[in-house]
Amino acid sequence: MLTALALCLGLVMRIAPARMPQALGGGDFLSVLLGDAKKDISDAMVHEADSYFHGGVDMDCHHLHGGHHHDSGTCCHHDHGHDHDADCDDHHEGAFDPWRWINVHVRAPEIDRHLSTKQAVEMMPWFWIAVKADPHNVEAWSTAWYTASHVMKDEALALRIAVEGQRLNPESLEMACVLGRAYRAETTRDSEKSEEMFRRVVEMAEGTQDLAENDNQAFFYSVGCLADSAQRRKDVAALAKLLNAASRINPNHPTTRSMSQTLKELGRGS
């Protein structure tokens, strides 16, 4: 009944969207149906993809260290960009809990394996659902791109993901940087488009007061790439402009210091 109702609603919205004043402006069917929950669903799908990467083990997470069991909602022992909770070892000490013992063993936390290059495609459906649920989940787009590019080594697929992600998130520094990086890959190389994206990152960052951590990384990666290019062309003016932009964001960043050094050397050389 509910499925039929949802299908009918979807059909009506597709046929006559203008006659539905209650529909959110610019929102799709999922937006109406799920509201804010779509962000949580999207995050859950990214989490599921992460679990797939770790061979299906829920990274939220179950541990077995030499016969000592852990089952915590916060800790992880893997080092693939996850936070390591120092309190992990002290968690759930105490009396023997048979239910926990069964759960930990049935869910096989002792398994420590990762998807191979060929198997990594298994993560893609979860990323796909994640970005369908919330097209503005930049983390989902960027992780999908990273998986396609660095784990699956499929640069064409990575580029498709980056292009679509950037199209749907034109305001995101991180997505612009991701697309710039996708255009730098060996088989999909397009230096002009790549630099255009990196320049867009720098422009967007200049208009932003406080950059989030990911945006900050995207900015300095983009500045670094543009600086390399400028250095190859011996374009002192472009390099000085980039140094100026980087100094405004973080004068002590290694990229800023390196650019300053390069600029000095180029100045001496000329």
């Binding site: 499925t3 797939y52 061979g55 299906g56 083990v57 829920d58 089952d71 915590s72 909602g73 759930h92 809990d97 048979p98 239910w99 926990r100 013992w101 069964i102 759960n103 063993h105 049935v106 869910r107 096989a108 398994i111 060929k118 495609v121 298994e122 993560m123 893609m124 459906p125 979860w126 990323f127 796909w128 659902i129 999908a144 396609a148 699956m152 499929d154 697929l157 498709r160 993901i161 679509e164």
Partner: protein, 260 residues
């Protein structure tokens, strides 16, 4: 003894026929096709070759269906007999209340198992067609644990039907089992984050509610982890037998006290 077995056998046969005569199974089959066929054709971002998500979705559906069937059959076992007053001819000698309860329970379990076997057979066929390997040790362990879960769910539905009204019992169990299936293992963590009466309540639920998640070997099956250790498997089997036995005993006591 032989007569008792024959009477129980007849009740089992009746339950089996009842399930397959109803349209539930075929409705579930059609629903599966509607959900899974488009899912099997999905090409996320144009990438091909992903199969685990399909297996996971199919297995999750099977868990949902098995719960739906078990609770439906278990809840209906006696309520319809009482409503239609057909329990009186059934209880006429030589069938005792105990035999009737055990016979009907076994019938419901066998009927639910037949549905489960049907769904697992379909899943195995689809897995083989996709080039997968399915008849592994882990597969048989997963089916066995799932079957035990079904037996437990039927026992819970049967006991619940004596304690509450059929709809209330089925609704309560339809909430309890999925809640335990998805969140049961995290209850101690939730208990740590709350205090007072609520913490006590969460702990009571953790220790007493049926741990549906013990029987869930989907992740092992989907990701090819291999089977569980014999000790763990036996512990889960023991849990299911003890829990189902306790529920049946409770149902027997309630049935005996019931005035007909």
């Amino acid at each position: 003894m032989r007569g008792c077995m024959r009477r129980i056998g007849a009740l089992v046969k009746l339950s089996l026929l009842e399930l397959w005569r109803r349209n539930d199974m075929f409705a579930l089959l059609v629903l599966s096709l509607v959900l899974l066929v488009p899912l099997s054709m999905a090409r996320p971002f144009g990438a091909t070759g992903a199969t685990r998500y399909f297996d996971e979705a199919a297995l999750l559906l099977m868990w949902g269906y098995s719960l739906f069937i078990s609770l439906g059959i278990g809840g209906r076992l006696f309520t319809s007999e009482f409503a239609n007053r057909t329990v009186y001819p059934l209880l006429a000698k030589p069938v005792s209340r105990g035999e009737l309860l055990v016979g009907k329970y076994l019938g419901a379990v066998v009927a639910s198992w037949s549905a489960l076997a049907f769904f697992y057979a379909l899943w195995a066929i689809s897995s083989v067609l996709r080039g997968g390997e399915c008849l592994t040790f882990c597969f048989f362990q997963a089916v066995a644990l799932h079957a035990l879960f079904v037996a437990l769910a039927v026992a819970a539905a049967l006991a619940g039907s004596f304690l509450l009204t059929p709809s209330a019992s089925t609704t309560l169990l339809a909430i309890l089992f999925p809640a335990m299936f998805f969140f049961g293992r995290r209850l101690p963590d939730y208990a740590e984050n709350v205090s007072g009466v609520l913490r006590g309540l969460v702990n009571v639920v953790y220790w007493l509610a049926p741990h549906a998640e013990f029987f869930d070997m989907r992740q092992r099956l989907v990701h090819g982890w291999g089977g569980v250790e014999a000790g763990v498997f036996l512990a889960v089997v023991g849990y299911a037998i003890f829990y189902s036995g306790t529920l049946l005993l409770g149902a027997r006591l309630l049935f005996n006290r019931k005035r007909l």
